[in-house]
Symmetry: C2
C-alpha cells in the first residue's frame, strides 16, 4: 500500500516517538520529506528543527540516538508514530521523556488569570 | 507550577492521546484554549476540529468517549500527552488506534516515484 504523507503548509508532518519496549511516549517532533526519507533509509530518527531550520539527526551530538523499530501512519495520513529503541534519554534535560511535566487543572486556570 | 501552553499561529496545540492501560498511542488531535479548558474541567477529551472548524467532544456522537486519567506537557510546552481510559475505539474506522497503517520504506519510495 502506498503512503502519501500529508505535509502541512510548512512541509512538515508531526512524528510521535514512542519507546518500543516500555511504550512510553518520548517526544513529538516534525519531519519534512527529506528527514522522513533519511529516517526510513538509516533506521534512525531524523527531524526538521523548526527553531534551527535544519535537518536534525536525533542524538548525533548527544549520542542519544533512536533506532527505529516500527513506523505507522494514521487514518488521515497526517501524523506518524515511530517506535524506537532509544540509546539514551529523549529530552535535552536528561529525562527519559520530554513529557515529564504533569498538567493539573489549577495550572491552566492560574495561567488564564495571569492573562487577564 | 504554572503552565503556559505554546499555541501555534492557529491557536492550537497538538495533543497525543494514549491509552492509560495498554499504553497504545491512539490518535493525535489539536486543542485550542477552550478545548483544553473543557478537557481539564470535564475530564473528557475535547479538541478543535480543523476540518469542521468547531469544538469537538471526542465520542459525543459515537459514544467512544475518552476519560482523562493524566495529562502531561513537554519540555518546551508545545505538545500535550493525554492518558485516557477509552470507552471504545479511537479511530472512525472502528480500529482501536488511528495508527493502524505500518509504514515501510518501499511505500514512501513508491510515492516519491509517482510524484516525478
Amino acid at each position: 500500500m502506498e503512503f502519501t504523507p500529508k505535509f502541512d503548509q510548512q512541509g512538515l508532518i508531526p512524528a510521535i516517538v514512542q519507546d518500543a519496549n516500555t511504550k512510553q511516549v518520548l517526544m513529538l517532533a516534525y519531519m519534512n520529506a527529506e528527514s522522513l526519507k533519511k529516517t526510513l533509509e538509516t533506521r534512525q530518527t531524523w527531524f526538521w528543527s523548526r527553531s534551527r531550520k535544519e535537518l536534525w539527526n536525533k542524538g548525533a551530538t548527544s549520542g542519544n540516538t533512536q533506532q527505529v523499530v516500527e513506523m505507522f501512519y494514521d487514518c488521515d495520513s497526517d501524523t506518524l508514530l515511530v517506535l524506537v529503541n532509544p540509546a539514551g534519554p529523549a529530552c535535552h534535560t536528561g529525562k527519559t521523556t520530554c513529557f515529564h511535566n504533569p498538567l493539573l487543572e489549577q495550572d491552566f486556570i492560574m495561567e488564564r488569570r495571569n492573562e487577564n
